[in-house]
Subunit: 262 residues, 4 copies
Amino acid sequence: MANRDAFWRTRISDVKPNEVRVRGYDLMELIGTRSFGDVTFLLLSGDLPTGNEGRLLEAMLVACTEHSLIAPSVDAARFVASSGVPLQAGVAAGMLALGDVHGGAVEEGADMLLEADDLHRDPADAAALMVARYAEERRRVPGYGHVVHDPDPRGRRLFEVAGQLGFRRRFCELALAFEPALQRSTGRDLKMNIDGSLAALLLELGLDPALGKALYVIGRAPGLVTHVHEEQTRERPYRDIGWKNVHYEGPDPRPLPDHPTT
Amino acid sequence: MANRDAFWRTRISDVKPNEVRVRGYDLMELIGTRSFGDVTFLLLSGDLPTGNEGRLLEAMLVACTEHSLIAPSVDAARFVASSGVPLQAGVAAGMLALGDVHGGAVEEGADMLLEADDLHRDPADAAALMVARYAEERRRVPGYGHVVHDPDPRGRRLFEVAGQLGFRRRFCELALAFEPALQRSTGRDLKMNIDGSLAALLLELGLDPALGKALYVIGRAPGLVTHVHEEQTRERPYRDIGWKNVHYEGPDPRPLPDHPTT
Amino acid sequence: MANRDAFWRTRISDVKPNEVRVRGYDLMELIGTRSFGDVTFLLLSGDLPTGNEGRLLEAMLVACTEHSLIAPSVDAARFVASSGVPLQAGVAAGMLALGDVHGGAVEEGADMLLEADDLHRDPADAAALMVARYAEERRRVPGYGHVVHDPDPRGRRLFEVAGQLGFRRRFCELALAFEPALQRSTGRDLKMNIDGSLAALLLELGLDPALGKALYVIGRAPGLVTHVHEEQTRERPYRDIGWKNVHYEGPDPRPLPDHPTT
Amino acid sequence: MANRDAFWRTRISDVKPNEVRVRGYDLMELIGTRSFGDVTFLLLSGDLPTGNEGRLLEAMLVACTEHSLIAPSVDAARFVASSGVPLQAGVAAGMLALGDVHGGAVEEGADMLLEADDLHRDPADAAALMVARYAEERRRVPGYGHVVHDPDPRGRRLFEVAGQLGFRRRFCELALAFEPALQRSTGRDLKMNIDGSLAALLLELGLDPALGKALYVIGRAPGLVTHVHEEQTRERPYRDIGWKNVHYEGPDPRPLPDHPTT
């Protein structure tokens, strides 16, 4: 079955004339009967939800959709969108910014929760051990505190919804146990933010932590599209910051030395 | 209210400490109570659905999710994904390929339907006039025929769902009228494909044709993520096509002329 | 020779074990004996310069290298660079912004010069006819005037260098003839900018106008790299514009209507 | 002088009306008198070469320009280019693929050489210690061996040129000392490849190892441009791998379970 020699091989979907099957299911049957969350779960996990997984995933994606321009990805997308490019190029530039410090805390946080879960059965003890380890390595615990919000209302709301849908389990408890552990360690009241809650819920859904960035990549797509569209329909082309707004801190004007090279 | 002097201004959302409002609605209330389709519709149109718009939009996005490697976007994403880059970079490369000839038919098709709709009240006449115009300008009518499928089952399935949800209206009728018009004009049995159906449904939803590419940009995101993840977890790094598989057709080996420039 | 059936075919270079030939020349012989401008000319045109083409091309690329943050591409690159991504992702985001209104005037300008050149043998007449046509179509003549400079010193400097290297010929004369034509038509003193001069020089080099954007894509690469590096080594991660700096102009806060969809 | 409060600040260049200064030098004076290599060195290092640095850098960039389709970046660029997108989007997709396993060995290799240089004064001993450390950590020593070439002729050629220009110094010697060390450790004849030589020469130029990827990002730009242009002028749009060429290895066709979610 497996064919290491095929240049292109995949377990995701099968396309033949007049037929598209995703993970074995007929795409035509999925269209109109299954939610976007269900089909996304099917793609990411390999099978359809057996319970509320698709609903929870939709809630997670909705939480990611939009955060105004308070995100480097959106600012980047709008600069690119202003430059006379097709819609998808602006969105792609925004996607690129979903890096290790901008959404990347979901993957790092999920890895951390798995590691903590291995350290100790008791969530409070596991969190305390993990926070101490991060402090020792002078690393920032991912998923707590926020640049604008205190606390980030999305983190709590997602856990509420997860509770209603039956997913507030071990990793959620563990994620919350980091709050008092951080309080004791740092003296600061760092509450779980949206990334912290997404990390825990990714694990409750049984998904690979390496898919941590997928939540923003998929969920933020509608927001990025809308910002690119707004930029292209409502603003003048070529977004210009104004030369007076750049503070130059380099060398003073200097003459060119005498060594022409061309 | 409007402030042309603000460097950053937006009608999309408002973020303040501990509060995120999308088009005036509290994001916390949207999370867990509204589908991804509803919130995407809210972003793209400016308001929440008053009926089944969100459901139809989810069906449209589901139809876009995945089509295996039979799409330049996915091949591009996998080559990039194989090169030692973060997940979002592979997805962004795939997004970039959603160009004028790969998903772009939705926008072009919606523009064409609007133009046809202006030409004549009767769909059959409008389609015939439009097909003649495209033939005269030697342009390909966008949204009919497919490189693999004949007919593309996604086009028909989306119209079925649109019918169930109450959206099979004027633009759907018009889109279908292009089939016999193309038959008469080209002698070929070119059936409406997924892009053709998305173009009509975009208009039935009242959305801006300039958002035509948005459907793939958003809908294909889960598929691209899954291909990037599969490439990075299941294949060797550095996807290599093999030097023997490149057919070189340029100049024969030749000596360098005598003009060193460095 | 030509093989339309080969999936990958190229006239650019030939790679075999222990051998790399570019357009037939041994890359090993090019390294260290030919300038970057010569080899870039070889790639773009298909052959090595027979005269000063490589020198002129290097001057054109040098003119494109850097323009501080007064360019949407650089702002986009820096936002992406701040997000925890590898260097090439920041640069790619900047590249994406080299769109129709940001460097795109080179291609458009070269097309315009070719069209004008066909209209009339006399440069002054050709320019006047062309300016009238653009005025009629309410299009902006590409390559004249600048958002910061008046005049853009790069345009004149490039023509000076082109004169020294023997390339100040027909298309340069034509490009300069647009200045008085624009003066008469618009009443404004719109001087040729860098894009206008690049357009003329692209044609003097005999290159395809479709390569207009190539000059910035190649020439700005060092500048983009340096900005990404500066952002990643000198600034805090996650460039944040500050929530108070966004002017929200959308709907006022409003309650969610009663139609849960999940 | 330093202004941490300025949103945009830079040491790279200063743009005022009718003036562009790069690192303090007048760009107008650089155009036509300094090579692309010199100006790139100015940008990357902060100052103009005092000797042959610009020449060596041009040789390094020339070595990077082109390697046919035997590179995931070029394949990605061509798939994107085939999709109806502007030139810069195809190039950007190719750039994205210049990742940790595709050009990334330059940065990793430069870091390794610096680390080795700290371990022992004698190059042979330093290399042997470093190879042992990599073997222990089961990491691949970056910059030796090649997927097509044996040995990669570009590595040796660059060292030849570096010798002629006076840059064959400590780090070059150290880089070569890895060859016998690898021979003894692995029993394989792994010769220094282009990345290995670029790593050593980056250090001989005194540049930051974090700029390792910059050499390909800048140097490969002309090659990527040319491939995108060739794809867009010589090939049919929408590069299609053919559905029969995908080996599907996922679940067999299966019926949808009974849980509609929309």
